[in-house]
C-alpha cells in the first residue's frame, strides 16, 4: 500500500462520511417536519426560514433532502449488506467445495445475472407490491450474485494457497477455515464490491421511487422528490435541481471512494503502462556520433535502470561486448540476469519502466554508417528495426497476432520496408526458405492453425524477410518441444550461412544449445557480465565459478532448467556489496565479499569477474 493512494482515500471518504453523518443526525437537526404540509406557501422560493424553498405541498425542501438521504442510504446500505452476506456465503461455499455445491450456489445465483437488473426489480415489485421492505429485498436479490462471483473467484485462488492447505493439514474444522482463515484474506475485493453496490443500489432505489414503484409517499426520497418536482418544473425549476444535485453528488463521491478503495485494496486491475512506440524517452546525454566502431555491433558500458519509489535500481550494469559480422554470440544466464533486457535494449524495445542510464550501442549499418542505437530518435530506430536489426522472441504463440493470416503479417513486414511488388511471391518464398511444408497454404493460415515449431519458423521468416545485418534471438527454442528445438537451431545455423555476414546474438539460459550454435559466449549474472570467451575455451576451462556451476549442472541430455546451483539470483534492490555471486559460491573468500571484483582480461577476448580465476583449472 502506497501512502499516496491512502491519502487519495481521504477526500472522498470524508465526503461520504459527511453525507452519512447528516443522514444519521437528521432527527436531532433543527429541521422542519419533512411531511408537514403548508399548502398556502406551495412552491415558495428560498427564504430565511426555508433555505431551499418549499415544494408542491409547501413542505420544507432542505428537510426533505436530508431525510431523503436517510431513507436512500438506509435502503442502499441494508440491501448491499444483505446482498454481501448472502452472496459471499454462496460464493465462498461454491468456491471451497466446488462440484455440486458450486452448481447450487454460484451457478444458480448467476441465473439472476441473465436478467436485465431493473426488469428483475420490477418483477419482484409486481409479486410483493411496492414499499421500502420490497425494495431492500429486490435490491439484495439483484446484487447478491455480484458478491457471489467475486467471493467465488477469490476463494478459488485462495483455497490452493499455502496458508489454507496448512490449516487443512492441521485438521482445522471447515467453518473455521472458511470464516477465520479464508474470509479475511478475500475481504479487500469484497469491500470494493460493497462500496460499488451501495452506489448502484442508490441509483436503482431512486429510479424505482422515481417511477412510483419504490419508496411510498409521503416518505421523503430523492427519487420521489424528482418525480414530484417534474410536474411543477415550469414554475419552480430549482425544486427539481436540489434532489438531482443531492443524488448525483452522493453517487459521485461513493464512486470516487470506490475507485480509490480499489487502488488501495485491490490494485491488480489498475492499468499501468505508457505505450512505448509513440515516442521513446531518451534520457541519455547526447554524444558525438562515432565514425568507426569495432565490428558489426559494439555495446559499451550499458547500464539499465528501473525507476522505483526508492530511486533508480540498476538491473543491467556496465555490460559490454562486440560482435563481428557473421559471428554468433551467446548470452547465457539465469532468469533475472539481465540477458533479455540487454537484447531488448539493442532493439530499442525496452519496457516503459526500464530506462538506459549510461553506455552506448554502436551498430555499423549496411552502408558503413555507425549509429548509437541508445541515442537514436524513435523514428530512425523504426527504419532500422526489421531491416538492419531483427529479433525473434521466446514464445512464438504470442508473438504473432492471432487475428491476422500468417502471409498478411509477413507481407506487412516487407511493405514496411519499401517492398511494393511481388510481396505475395516473396512471402511464399520466405516460408519455403524456413522449411514450412506447404508454403502457399501456410500463407493463408491463421497462426493457431499451425504447430508451435512452425509458428517459430514463421517468426524467423519475418525476422530475415529484409535480410537484416543483426539477428537477436531471445530464447527462440525455450517454448518448443525438445525435438523441434534441434530443428530450429539447425534452421538458424543454415540461415546464417545463407545470409552471409549476418551477425547473431543468441540469448539463452540453456548452455547445452550454446556449443551447437555460438562462436563466443558471454555469461551474465545478476545484471553483470561475469565471463566471456570462445565457446571451446569457456567449456574446456571456465574461469568463473558461476560458469563452472552452469556447466556442471548440464545433464547429458537437454536441460530444461538450471536447478543444481544452490540459492537464487539476488534481487536487484538487494545486491551484495562485494561479488554478486559470492553468497552462492563455494570458492568465496573474504576478499570476494569485501569489494566488487572488476572484470579482468585474462587473454585477448577472454574475460572473468572472479578474483580466484587462476585457481580454476
Amino acid at each position: 500500500m502506497r501512502p499516496s493512494s491512502i491519502r487519495g482515500l481521504a477526500g472522498p471518504g470524508a465526503l461520504v462520511l459527511l453525507v452519512a453523518l447528516v443522514a444519521v443526525a437528521a432527527p436531532i437537526l433543527p429541521l422542519f417536519d419533512p411531511v408537514r404540509q403548508d399548502v398556502a406557501n406551495r412552491l415558495a422560493g428560498p427564504s430565511a426560514l426555508h433555505w431551499l424553498g418549499q415544494d408542491e405541498y409547501g413542505r420544507d425542501v432542505l428537510s426533505r433532502i436530508i431525510w431523503g438521504a436517510r431513507v436512500s442510504l438506509t435502503v442502499a446500505v441494508v440491501a448491499a449488506a444483505l446482498a454481501a452476506v448472502v452472496g459471499t456465503l454462496l460464493g465462498v461455499l461454491g468456491g471451497y467445495f466446488r462440484g455440486l455445491v458450486e452448481l447450487f450456489t454460484v451457478r444458480v445465483a448467476e441465473i439472476v445475472l441473465c436478467f436485465p437488473p431493473l426488469l428483475l426489480a420490477l418483477l419482484v415489485v409486481t409479486l410483493l407490491g411496492p414499499g421500502a421492505t420490497t425494495l431492500v429485498f429486490s435490491l439484495a436479490i439483484l446484487f447478491a450474485p455480484g458478491f457471489a462471483r467475486v467471493a467465488y473467484a477469490e476463494t478459488l485462488s485462495a483455497r490452493a494457497l499455502d496458508y489454507v492447505t496448512a490449516q487443512q493439514a492441521l485438521g482445522a474444522r471447515t467453518p473455521r477455515i472458511l470464516f477465520v482463515t479464508l474470509l479475511p484474506n478475500i475481504a479487500p475485493p469484497l469491500i470494493v464490491q460493497f462500496s460499488l453496490t451501495v452506489a448502484s443500489a442508490m441509483v436503482l432505489e431512486s429510479g424505482l421511487s422515481f417511477l412510483g414503484l419504490g419508496v411510498v409517499p409521503p416518505s421523503p426520497s430523492w427519487g420521489l422528490m424528482i418525480r414530484g418536482a417534474r410536474a411543477s418544473m415550469e414554475l419552480a425549476p430549482l425544486l427539481l435541481f436540489w434532489p438531482c444535485l443531492a443524488l448525483t453528488g452522493t453517487v459521485l463521491v461513493l464512486n470516487l471512494l470506490c475507485d480509490r478503495l480499489r487502488d488501495v485494496l485491490d490494485p491488480r486491475g489498475k492499468a499501468a503502462g505508457r505505450p512505448g512506440f509513440l515516442g521513446r524517452l531518451i534520457a541519455l546525454p547526447p554524444a558525438p556520433e562515432p565514425r568507426q566502431a569495432p565490428g558489426l555491433l559494439s555495446v559499451q558500458g550499458l547500464t539499465l535502470a528501473v525507476q522505483s519509489a526508492h530511486g533508480p535500481i540498476e538491473v543491467v550494469r556496465d555490460v559490454g561486448f562486440t560482435l563481428a559480422a557473421g559471428e554468433t554470440l551467446a548470452i547465457v544466464g539465469e532468469s533475472g540476469s539481465g540477458k533479455t533486457l540487454t537484447g531488448l535494449a539493442v532493439m530499442g524495445l525496452l519496457p516503459a519502466a526500464v530506462t538506459p542510464v549510461a553506455g552506448s550501442i554502436l551498430l555499423t549499418g549496411r552502408e558503413g554508417r555507425v549509429r548509437d542505437l541508445l541515442r537514436l530518435p524513435e523514428r530512425e530506430m523504426r527504419g532500422l528495426r526489421g531491416r538492419e536489426l531483427a529479433m525473434i522472441f521466446q514464445d512464438p504463440s504470442s508473438s504473432l497476432n492471432p487475428l491476422l493470416r500468417i502471409g498478411s503479417q509477413l507481407g506487412e513486414t516487407l511493405r514496411a520496408h519499401g517492398v511494393r511488388d511481388g510481396v505475395r511471391e516473396r512471402v511464399v518464398a520466405l516460408l519455403r526458405q524456413v522449411g514450412l511444408p506447404d508454403p502457399e497454404r501456410a500463407a493463408e493460415a491463421y497462426p493457431h492453425e499451425v504447430s508451435g515449431g512452425q509458428r517459430q519458423r514463421v517468426m524467423i521468416a519475418a525476422a530475415i524477410a529484409n535480410h537484416p545485418r543483426l539477428l537477436i534471438a531471445d530464447e527462440p527454442t525455450t517454448a518448443l518441444d525438445v525435438t523441434v528445438q534441434a530443428q530450429i537451431l539447425a534452421l538458424l545455423a543454415e540461415l546464417k550461412r545463407a545470409e552471409g555476414g549476418m551477425g547473431m546474438v543468441f540469448v539463452t539460459h540453456n548452455l547445452a544449445v550454446v556449443s551447437d550454435i555460438a562462436d563466443r559466449v558471454l555469461v551474465m549474472y545478476a545484471g553483470e557480465v561475469v565471463e566471456e570467451g570462445r565457446v571451446e575455451d569457456v567449456f574446456a576451462v571456465p574461469r568463473h565459478p558461476y560458469t563452472a556451476a552452469l556447466i556442471a549442472s548440464m545433464p547429458e541430455g537437454d536441460a530444461e532448467r538450471l536447478t543444481a546451483i544452490p540459492g537464487t539470483v539476488p534481487q536487484p534492490w538487494a545486491m551484495p556489496a562485494g561479488c554478486r555471486f559470492a553468497p552462492r559460491c563455494e570458492m568465496a573468500i573474504d576478499a570476494c565479499r569485501a569489494a566488487a571484483p572488476p572484470l579482468a582480461e585474462l587473454a585477448a577476448g577472454r574475460l572473468s569477474r572472479c578474483l580466484r580465476w587462476k585457481e580454476m583449472a
Binding site: P116, L118, V203, F210, N255, A271, L349, E412, A416, H448
Partner: protein, 317 residues
C-alpha cells in the same frame, strides 16, 4: 462459419426454452396464489368466490403439466395470453411497442459506440496525458449521474428553459420522419451519456492491455509504423471486450429504458411494463419479461457471431 452459427443458434434456442420455462415456474411455484395476489388490495382478504372465478378463467385449476403445455403451445403460436385488465391480446401490444424500444436502444448504442470507441482509443494511446485525464474524469462523472436525472435535467434545460427541443413524445416514422428522429434523439442521447462512458472505459483499458501484449512488441521489432501497429495489431484485438460490454449493456437497457421512456413519454415496451406492474397484471408482466429475455438471448447469439467474425480462433474452436 455456418456450422459454428448453426451450433450457436441451437444453444440459443435451448436457452430461450429454459427462460420460458423458468418464467412459467416463477409464477407458479412462488408461494401465494396469483389470483389471490391480484385481487387482494391493501391486506384485505379477497372474496373467495371471486378468487375461484379468476382461477377458473386463468386456467389455474388444471394440473401444472397441462398448464405448462398450454402455455408453451401458446408461446409457439405467438400467443402470450390476454391482459387481465382489458382482455386485450398481450402479443399485439408487445408487437406495437417493442420496435420503438429497440429503436431507442439501438440509437443509444450507436451514439455511445460512435463516441466511446474513438475517444477510448485516443485516451489509451496517450494514457496519463491531458486528454486522457479530462476524458477519464468526465467518464467517472457521467457514470455517476442516474439516467433519469440526465433526462429530467435535459428536459428542464433544453426544453423548458431554452425551448430548443420539445420535452418528449412520439411521432411514427411513417407520418413525419424528421420529427420522429428529432424526438428520438433526446432520449437516445440521454441513455448514450452513461453508456458512452462505459464504452469509453472498456475501450481504453482494452487498448492499454493489448498494447502490452507480446505480438505488439513483435510487430514493433519488425519495424512497422505506429499507425499500422494500432490499426492492424491493436484495435481489432481490443474490440472483443467492447463488443461484450456493449451487448451486455444493450441487453440490460431493454428493461432499463423504463426510466428514460417515462421521462420522455416514449411509448415503448417499458411504459407498458410499468403499467402492468402497477396493475399487477401478471400475464402482461410475464409476456414482456419473456420477450425481453428472448431478445437478450438472441443478442448474446449475435455477440457470439461477432466474436467469430473478429477472431478466427473462435470460428474453428
Amino acid at each position: 462459419m455456418l456450422a459454428f452459427a448453426a451450433r450457436r443458434l441451437l444453444v440459443s434456442l435451448g436457452l430461450v426454452w429454459v427462460v420460458a420455462s423458468l418464467v412459467f415456474l416463477v409464477i407458479h411455484l412462488i408461494p401465494g396464489d396469483p389470483a389471490e395476489l391480484l385481487l387482494s388490495q391493501g391486506g384485505i382478504a379477497p372474496d373467495p368466490a371471486a378468487v375461484e372465478e379468476l382461477r377458473e378463467r386463468l386456467g389455474l385449476n388444471a394440473p401444472l403439466w397441462a398448464q405448462y403445455l398450454s402455455y408453451m403451445g401458446g408461446l409457439l403460436r405467438g400467443d402470450f395470453g390476454l391482459s387481465l385488465q382489458d382482455e386485450h391480446p398481450i402479443a399485439e401490444e408487445i408487437a406495437l411497442r417493442l420496435p420503438r424500444t429497440l429503436e431507442l436502444v439501438g440509437m443509444a448504442g450507436l451514439l455511445a459506440t460512435l463516441f466511446g470507441v474513438p475517444l477510448g482509443i485516443a485516451a489509451a494511446l496517450r494514457a496519463g496525458g491531458a486528454l486522457d485525464r479530462v476524458l477519464s474524469a468526465w467518464a467517472g462523472f457521467a457514470l455517476s449521474v442516474p439516467v433519469f436525472v440526465v433526462g429530467t435535467l435535459a428536459v428542464l434545460l433544453l426544453a423548458q428553459q431554452l425551448k430548443l427541443v420539445s420535452a418528449g413524445g412520439y411521432v411514427p416514422l411513417a407520418r413525419d420522419p424528421g420529427r420522429h428522429l428529432a424526438l428520438l434523439m433526446m432520449p437516445a442521447t440521454t441513455i448514450a451519456v452513461g453508456l458512452g462512458a462505459v464504452v469509453f472505459r472498456v475501450m481504453r483499458s482494452s487498448v492499454l492491455e493489448v498494447l502490452e501484449r507480446e505480438h505488439v512488441r513483435a510487430a514493433q521489432a519488425r519495424g512497422l509504423a505506429p499507425g499500422a501497429i494500432i490499426r492492424r495489431h491493436v484495435l481489432r484485438n481490443a474490440l472483443t471486450p467492447v463488443v461484450t460490454v456493449v451487448a451486455l449493456h444493450l441487453g440490460a437497457l431493454l428493461g432499463g429504458t423504463v426510466l428514460v421512456e417515462f421521462v420522455f413519454n416514449w411509448p415503448g415496451l417499458s411504459g407498458y411494463l410499468v403499467r402492468a406492474v402497477e396493475a399487477r397484471d401478471y400475464p402482461e408482466v410475464l409476456g414482456i419479461v419473456l420477450v425481453i429475455s428472448i431478445i437478450f438471448v438472441l443478442l448474446n447469439f449475435l455477440v457470439d457471431l461477432l466474436y467469430a467474425v473478429i477472431d478466427p480462433r473462435v470460428r474453428h474452436g
